[in-house]
Symmetry: C2
Subunit: 496 residues, 2 copies
């Protein structure tokens, strides 16, 4: 980034957003620490500190000089990257400026309290305890959605979607998800039929310690740089931190190492995206991740496209033998990781039934935001939809039902669709990648996994937010989002 | 704290300082994380973020409304506690207001870089690498000292002392330390003579893991509340965090568990002070620790007054047997922990030779600040003084010489005297405590360690900064700082 003195307004904006990035660094640290390290006694003052920080970041993002400076910077002679950065600055300013600081602070503080209580309430299946918290939080979420909607001339739920997925609409999602609903239940049924005769593979118990050693080894294989990040434990796995210091987490189940391991693979995908963002644009809006669907496309590329493929499983099987002394064959691993079985928990779902969990949440969120669904009726709504989508009975099991995810406990509505959009992008990326590099499985067998990541780096990571999502995907794959690749991927892998 | 509407200016100030406390919470978190968790890749952006935060806190503390509001609050009808709080607000404002924000940010950023490099340089005994960093940092320290000195009409070094020890002067320290110098070398010699025949006790190796289990057990015995804090590992042990979430650290030497264990006892003393600060004044200047000497008095009370006494060693000996399977007798433990032996490292020093390490640093700091000692001449200065004070040759051993402490690597001059002042206060508190409760050893033998902490809580912890240091010490012990108690303590313990 070079600044000619002929662009003083642009320069001023970049300095200001660099300052904001410093405070966002602290926000990322506070979030990570709260989930991994903080004892219970810290929650009240941490909640207050994080709310104060959120308010401060919000005040910086809505500083009164910004609007005028953007207008003046638009008259300055900027190169195309600077113009992209200015576009992202404008978007961030607009997203922040429409919401009053008091609401930001109130929601942050309430979300912290609610999440904190949720951790225990979930463990105790305590829906009656969680319900009033969620009701209070939903009031603020609806207030936020309606304020955002008015300012952007969007529907309230579209306004929430746009926080994570700029440009995405309920209408487009209903189209994409409607298509999905037309063929996915049939596919699930067919695959279950094909797998009906398979016998269940029983797993030995492995200590968290040896699972962690395995996880670190697999992360290194996936190119994770441990001088630029950490692996820890949290009850809800996530990838946080900042590009030079990515903090990812997982959880270990001694009775089933397979889920924690694939959790690590997933979060490593997020981590490599963050670590691969353009260094010269660090601290600037153009240097950030493109959208949450693109973020999830990178984690799901690792977890689903790579991770559940035979090529990858062949590569990591010796590591399982080394760290766990596991005798599982490649065939058995393949069987475990491509087993399609409707279940209660989204994060444990296989890739075929996973979208059903999203369809349910998408419908619920729309209802919660437009007022057609009350928080009090959520468990019944949940039970009905789990029954019709996946044929599972969830009544009275709140902890594995509508209390299972952290998203609502922190008031984050509009995020869930990103997971399935991400799965679709990931499939589209793999087909595009294979068109130029040949089958991924062969690259892995030749020890060339680096080529896979080079493709992602060149086409996705290093682009940051310099392009719009549409441009990015079109340049990488020749077209914008096309869900047919996801269907093709599932059919190729599961109907063979 | 109740606010009548008749004290609007005072109220406004308390709200503002509560806000500052929120940002200081984040600063404490950033410091702790940097020392315990952060991978190397995070150091640059963390340094920048912490500098930005320091600047922001500084701007808040020097907000232009404060000076007028203090004047107006002084006219309001405040109770005595509120008046104390206003006094501390005024002191914090003055301390911050005399230093320009640019200097604060520059020093914070440089200190982060310097410390980061020092960690590796120290390991490599790399004085040539450290020297230019320290020189650059010393330039800023001297600039800060001279700005503070001018504003407060103090000498530059006094101005630095006052950051940690409000009201302390070089002159008074020279008096106290001069007295110390008159009898301590003789005492060291005598004690060494008395201990000359003692044979060295050899220690078995213990894993960091079992030492940690022992440490946690001892912390619990000392009343540490693990729902209000954590224990971790860092290369330079410290006690950080915030009152509801105290983060203390130690380091484990497999070949010598005794130092890591007493490190934990020391930091637990700090932690209990912080955890015991008045809850109703949290976030207000009157609710903070009184001074760094008082802080060290609490850690040294635990480590020296309690920790090296026979009563305490008797209580923890079964814990050593339990966690380490150690066969050490109480006599042997007593022998280890009261062994007087001049050594290179301040933090590993026994309580008799420890003040010599402070005398050296006090002289060096005075010289570095008044310009009579150049950074380049520090190793020679060090060697000479270690020779004359403790009879030890330190030439060419920089890592165990002038590079051993973190303080200078982060530009913190003026702190070291607090350790020896703390040791003196600790002795004075013990004699006062025993005058009302009887011998501490007997209380411990009766399982009444809680009475010891109740005395500290009532007299020190719960007072926060509501009293001045002089008032606090006078109320607790009947007189202000009197170094004779320290001498009496050493003579009673070591000349028996
Ligand atoms: Zn993800
Ligand atoms: Zn200390």
């Amino acid at each position: 980034m070079t600044h000619s003195p002929s662009t003083p307004h642009y320069l001023h904006l970049t300095e200001h957003f660099q300052k904001i990035a410093h405070f966002e660094h602290l926000s990322a640290l506070g979030d990570w620490d709260q989930a991994t390290m903080m004892p219970i006694g810290g929650s009240e003052s941490r909640g207050a500190a994080m709310a104060e920080l959120a308010r401060h970041i919000h005040e910086l993002k809505t500083d009164c000089f910004i609007e005028t400076s953007i207008e003046q910077a638009e008259e300055e002679l900027l190169d195309s990257h600077q113009m992209s950065n200015l576009r992202e600055i404008r978007y961030q300013f607009m997203q922040a400026n429409v919401v009053p600081a008091d609401l930001v602070q109130a929601k942050t503080q309430l979300a912290y309290r609610c999440e904190h209580a949720w951790r225990e309430q979930r463990a105790n299946n305590d829906w009656q305890g969680f319900k009033p918290n969620l009701e209070a939080l939903m009031k603020l979420v609806k207030e936020e959605a309606s304020i955002r909607a008015q300012a952007q001339e969007l529907t309230p739920y579209d306004a929430l979607l746009n926080k994570f997925e700029p440009g995405m609409t309920t209408k487009r999602l209903e189209h994409i998800f409607g298509d999905l609903k037309s063929w996915l239940p049939g596919l699930i049924e067919t695959v279950q039929g094909l797998q009906a005769g398979d016998s269940k593979i029983s797993l030995a118990k492995y200590s968290a310690r040896s699972q962690e050693a395995l996880g670190r080894d697999v992360m290194a294989y996936l190119g994770f740089d441990f001088t630029q990040g950490r692996l820890d434990v949290s009850s809800h796995p996530f990838c946080g931190g900042v590009p030079g210091d990515i903090r990812l987490t997982t959880r270990y189940d001694e009775a089933d190492f397979t889920s924690g391991l694939m959790g690590i693979v997933h979060e490593t995908g997020h981590a490599r995206y963050e670590q691969g963002l353009p260094k010269e644009w660090r601290g600037q809006p153009a240097g950030g991740h493109r959208s949450m669907a693109i973020h999830e496309s990178q984690s799901l590329f690792c977890e689903m496209q790579l991770g559940r493929g035979e090529g990858f499983l062949t590569q990591i099987q010796p590591k399982l033998r080394k760290h766990l002394n596991s005798q599982l064959t490649i065939g058995e691993l393949n069987h475990i990781y491509t087993r399609v079985k409707p279940g209660l928990i989204r994060v444990d779902a296989d890739e075929v039934t996973y979208p059903c969990h999203i369809l349910l949440r998408f419908e619920a969120e729309k209802g919660l935001v437009d007022g057609s669904l009350d928080v009090a009726d959520l468990p019944e709504f949940w039970a009905e939809h789990m029954k019709s989508l996946l044929g599972i009975d969830t009544r009275d099991d709140y902890r594995n039902g509508c209390m299972q995810d952290i998203h609502w406990a922190v008031g984050e509505l509009g995020y869930f669709p990103s997971y399935t959009l991400g799965a679709m992008y990931a499939a589209q990326f793999r087909f595009a990648m294979e068109a130029s590099l040949g089958p991924v499985d062969e690259l892995l067998a030749q020890g060339n996994i680096a080529q896979v990541f080079d493709w992602l780096d060149k086409n996705i990571w290093s682009q940051g937010s310099l392009l719009t999502t549409e441009e990015l995907v079109k340049r990488a794959t020749g077209e914008t989002l096309n869900p047919k690749f996801f269907r093709r991927h599932l059919e190729q892998r599961y109907l063979k």
